[in-house]
């Protein structure tokens, strides 16, 4: 059932040094979940082009007025976030 190798949960803005480290760590088979301030990456020019599936917490997107920018990510609610953590072999909170 663990079809995701590592689920990377990122909660920091694209400017934060740890965001870059997170992007560097993505590998085929992984997934990226943007929460809190990290959803701002969807509005940023240097958006999250990535070879892995990108998810983003809908509540954080709506709070920041980013509904229209969210095309590059699959929006998830908390039940779906829980589901993602069960599907991943490892979870890293950046």
């Amino acid at each position: 059932m663990t079809d995701i190798h590592t689920l990377h949960i990122l909660n920091k803005t694209p400017e934060h040094p740890r965001s870059k480290a997170c992007r560097d760590a993505l590998r085929p088979g992984d997934a990226l979940l943007l929460i809190e301030s990290a959803v701002l990456a969807l509005a940023a020019q240097s958006g999250p082009e990535s070879d892995v599936p990108v998810y983003a917490l809908a509540s954080d997107i709506v709070a920041r007025g980013l509904g229209q920018c969210a095309r590059e990510a699959s929006l998830v609610d908390f039940p779906a976030m829980v589901d993602l953590t069960t599907r991943a072999q490892n979870v890293i909170s950046w």
Binding site: T13, E36, S37, V82, T86, S93
Partner: protein, 138 residues
């Protein structure tokens, strides 16, 4: 969802309420995990996260009271909430026995939180199938 195996979680919160979003994200996650039939073995507060266990927060009445929300959730679901003793003592969060030991004027640990060592985190790591961290954003 029913086909998924049941998981057990240890949740570690290192961001303080009213400084970071960590306690609120963690609470929404914990509620969803329980609702999906999973278990939360324990919640461990570390670093600035220990401020979530303060009994003396008084936010404006139109803002969510995160310590109270967490307290109710933990109590209703019988989940242990543990504040790391080293983090807590440095940051001014004490229970009755620490109050006496350090001869302080009061204690301010919110029920049902308890104060204990990092061993609780290590044990959670081993016992739970998933350990998730909720850090300060920024």
């Amino acid at each position: 969802m029913a086909a998924n195996p049941i998981h057990s979680y240890t949740l570690v919160i290192t961001g303080a309420p009213y400084s970071t979003q960590a306690p609120q994200t963690a609470l929404s996650f914990a509620r969803a995990a329980i609702a999906a039939g999973h278990t939360v073995d324990r919640v461990f507060l570390y670093g600035d996260g220990v401020h979530l266990a303060s009994s003396l927060c008084a936010p404006p009445s139109d803002e969510t009271h995160w310590p109270t929300e967490w307290s109710i959730f933990l109590t209703d679901n019988g989940i242990p909430g543990v504040a790391c003793i080293a983090s807590a003592l440095r940051r001014g969060l004490v229970n009755e026995s620490e109050r006496k030991r350090y001869e302080l004027s009061a204690s301010n640990l919110l029920k049902p939180f308890i104060i204990a060592g990092l061993g609780e985190w290590v044990e959670g790591n081993m016992a739970s199938s998933r350990t998730l961290y909720f850090h300060a954003g920024g």
